[in-house]
């Protein structure tokens, strides 16, 4: 890990592990946005992690995104970080404030659904279409009608009626991720962080909880499940790191697709194991495990669920054919 990444990791781990208590998240779910934390994040310059200088990388930003997932941090940092980078890559001015990301298949879409943090955002970057059809617009949210909605983790995922506020077209960057790809990358890394949190929670619980006269972590039935959870945590983390590194290159779409498939597709098994090991207490609102598992359930569907990314990946492989399968797989070395 390079020096910048290490510093970022230390900074965000310290900040989030201390500040983002179960109480803070419960308050957020009761309607109280963590203003103080959001101010601290801005003071630390975390919004600019991907644009601070010419050498700012997704590779380093991974540490911030991972921590956002690991500690269930309920603030619009991931989206704003990514959006600022997208604008810079496109050679656009970067406006002040919160910027979010949205995607719609079709330019004619009137209402964007599930837009992260829209009610408090200043701008949204809207991508319509993919590949050659891609169009990008920057839209001041103040001009649109926003209806408040949430995902199942009660994070803001609002509907934005853009029929009266089409915004203005912005250039497409000629390298790096598109808005949809950046969103998928961000969620993949956040899921990796959340799964890592589940592993830590489940292992700690298994060491502390005693039944039949010993910690349940001493039972092979529990050990075998946690080993599987660890395997998925390792896989999703590795795929997400690869995707982050690819986002620093020219064309990251395949690595991001792989990361989002692995992340989204691992949520079912990992959340099941984390809850099974915790027993009934993990199913209560009082226990904090669900802050991680509910986010994983929500995030797997955001910026493209498994099938969204697996379909073109599979079609492409079929079109390229058996002869190119292995060389394509090893092409990125």
């Amino acid at each position: 890990m390079d020096e910048i990444s290490r510093l970022l990791q230390e900074t965000v781990t310290k900040l989030f592990s201390e500040a983002v208590t179960p109480e803070l998240i419960r308050n957020f779910e009761d309607g109280q946005f963590p203003e103080e934390l959001w101010a601290q994040v801005q003071e630390l310059g975390l919004l600019d992690v991907l644009v601070a200088d010419d050498d700012s990388t997704w590779t380093s930003a991974y540490e911030v995104l991972f921590a956002l997932g690991r500690w269930s941090v309920p603030i619009p940092l991931a989206e704003t970080m990514a959006a600022r980078r997208l604008l810079r890559d496109a050679g656009e001015e970067i406006p002040e404030g919160i910027i979010t990301l949205a995607y719609a298949d079709d330019y004619a879409t009137k209402v964007l659904t599930g837009v992260p943090w829209a009610r408090m955002a200043d701008y949204v970057i809207v991508q319509t279409g993919t590949g050659d059809e891609t169009q990008i617009r920057l839209m001041p949210i103040g001009e649109a009608n926003v209806s408040n909605k949430t995902n199942i983790a009660l994070e803001y995922r609002d509907d934005v009626d853009i029929s009266v506020a089409p915004g203005r077209p912005v250039r497409k960057a000629n390298r790096g991720p598109t808005a949809l790809e950046a969103g998928a990358l961000v969620r993949s890394v956040q899921i990796a962080g959340a799964l890592d949190g589940m592993l830590h929670e489940a292992v700690t619980y298994a060491q502390d909880r005693t039944q039949f006269g010993k910690p349940i972590g001493k039972f092979q039935a529990i050990q075998q499940q946690l080993a599987v959870l660890a395997g998925r945590v390792a896989a999703v983390g590795r795929a997400a790191q690869t995707a982050a590194a690819a986002a620093d290159g020219d064309d990251p779409v395949i690595d991001i697709a792989i990361a989002k498939i692995e992340a989204s597709d691992s949520v079912s098994e990992t959340t099941s194991i984390a809850h099974q090991v915790h027993g009934a207490i993990g199913f209560t609102y009082e226990h904090h495990l669900h802050f991680l598992t509910r986010r994983a359930w929500a995030w797997r569907n955001e910026f493209g669920a498994t099938h969204h990314w697996a379909l073109p990946l599979g079609r492409n492989a079929a079109q390229r054919g058996a002869e190119n399968l292995w060389s394509d797989l090893t092409g990125g070395v």
Binding site: G217, A227, E262
Partner: protein, 381 residues
């Protein structure tokens, strides 16, 4: 980042690309008329002449010191050779064990005489190894080893039976774990490793037919077989630590998720350029998992290159890899209706791998043992 294990985001150095091209043109030539169903055997395919050619190319003992016939190349370069061989389904079974674990074990624990006498011949692809760990009453519980090495004048007399020794019927040597002390203080004590010449009188090798009808593994019976003092490997009584290290080598490679690579290739061929939506989605998911396992495996190669011990990470890759390669034949089976019984290449490859896939989570340490190692890494044992 997680604190339990480390999968550094290594990528293969750009310098490996030329080597990869060299291997591919070698394989194109060597395997031009090698049938798909033979490719599906991957590292169970056995061809001493092919292994000799790899030795001639400098692709065996790649990371070993030159003084022992090695080539002092990086763990990443060796990784590229391994994965290209597996992807092509080349018959690498003859040299696989010696190159992967017996050679490295001798390099680490062997005497100077053993290294000088054995390693250059392994690297040239002239002599071949098998493993002597399991026994009829000692499978996952390796410490229950009963086969006895009794001290005698100038050496040891061996009595007992080793089981599941893949390739023993063709191999020249076995590195075997024997009991040199009957009632050791600790459960893991009293075991020692020996380098056994399989031509030694008193050794009988009997192939065991597996459920697919093939003969890969064997029973090896020792009846007063004499092994000289010079062929004790490492420390007398130090066998447990050594065999644990050997198993880490055994679990560290890409063969733990690539056994079905030839099937995936034939599946893509069979599906053709216009998959239906279900086929495309499932193919996309398989590719994502394969690519991720490969990244994890490259991280393990990076740890080997840095001289770190990847025992935990290798167990994670092997467990996850076995889940992948064991499920693949059945996923493939569900993707295409009406596959003829044995007619096409695809059907033959599928039928073979459906049958041998149960072994993927048995060989090299069962799923349960690996998960126990992972649980230990998590601090649960």
């Amino acid at each position: 980042m997680t604190t339990y294990f480390s999968f550094a985001p290594n990528s293969l150095p750009g310098s490996t690309q030329a080597l990869r091209e060299e291997i591919r043109s070698f394989l194109d030539q060597e395997l031009s008329d090698y049938p798909a169903v033979k490719r599906a055997e991957t590292w169970m395919g056995y061809d001493k002449a092919f292994s000799k050619k790899m030795g001639d190319r400098g692709w065996l003992g790649m990371t070993w010191p030159k003084q022992y016939g090695g080539h002092e190349r990086s763990a990443f370069e060796r990784y590229v050779v391994l994965e290209e061989m597996l992807a092509a389904g080349a018959p690498v079974g003859a040299h696989w064990i010696g190159d992967r674990q017996s050679g490295p074990l001798l390099l680490r624990f062997g005497t100077e005489k053993q290294r000088e006498e054995i390693l250059p011949r392994v690297a040239r692809g002239e002599i071949f190894f098998c493993i002597g760990m399991s026994e009829p009453d000692s499978g996952s519980d390796l410490a229950a080893t009963k086969t006895r090495a009794q001290k005698t004048d100038g050496g040891w007399l061996i009595n007992g039976t080793k089981l599941w020794s893949t390739g023993a019927q063709h191999a020249d040597y076995m590195i075997a774990l024997f009991r040199t002390e009957s009632n050791p203080e600790s459960r893991h004590g009293g075991l020692s490793q020996f380098l056994v010449d399989l031509k030694t009188p008193g050794i009988t090798v009997r192939p065991i037919k597996d459920l697919s009808g093939a003969e890969h593994f064997n029973e090896v019976v020792f009846e007063d077989a004499f092994v000289g003092d010079d062929w004790l490997v490492g420390e007398e009584g130090g066998g447990w630590a050594q065999v644990t290290a050997e198993l880490a080598y055994e679990r560290s490679g890409p063969e733990r998720y690539m056994s079905c690579m030839p099937l995936l290739t034939e599946l893509v061929r069979e599906i053709g350029p216009d998959p239906d939506e279900r086929q495309a989605i499932i193919l996309g998911k398989l590719i994502a998992r394969l690519a991720t396992l490969r990244q994890m495996s490259i991280s393990v190669a990076g740890m080997l290159e840095d001289g770190k011990d990847p025992a935990l990470e290798a167990s994670i890759v092997k467990d996850q890899g076995a889940l992948f390669e064991q499920s693949l034949p059945h996923i493939a089976n569900d993707l295409i209706d009406g596959v003829s019984a044995t007619g096409t290449d695809y059907a033959q490859v599928l039928n073979l791998l459906v049958q041998i896939s149960p072994s993927f989570s048995l060989r090299g340490g069962t799923r349960e043992i690996l998960r126990g190692i992972i649980a230990r890494g998590l601090g649960l044992r």
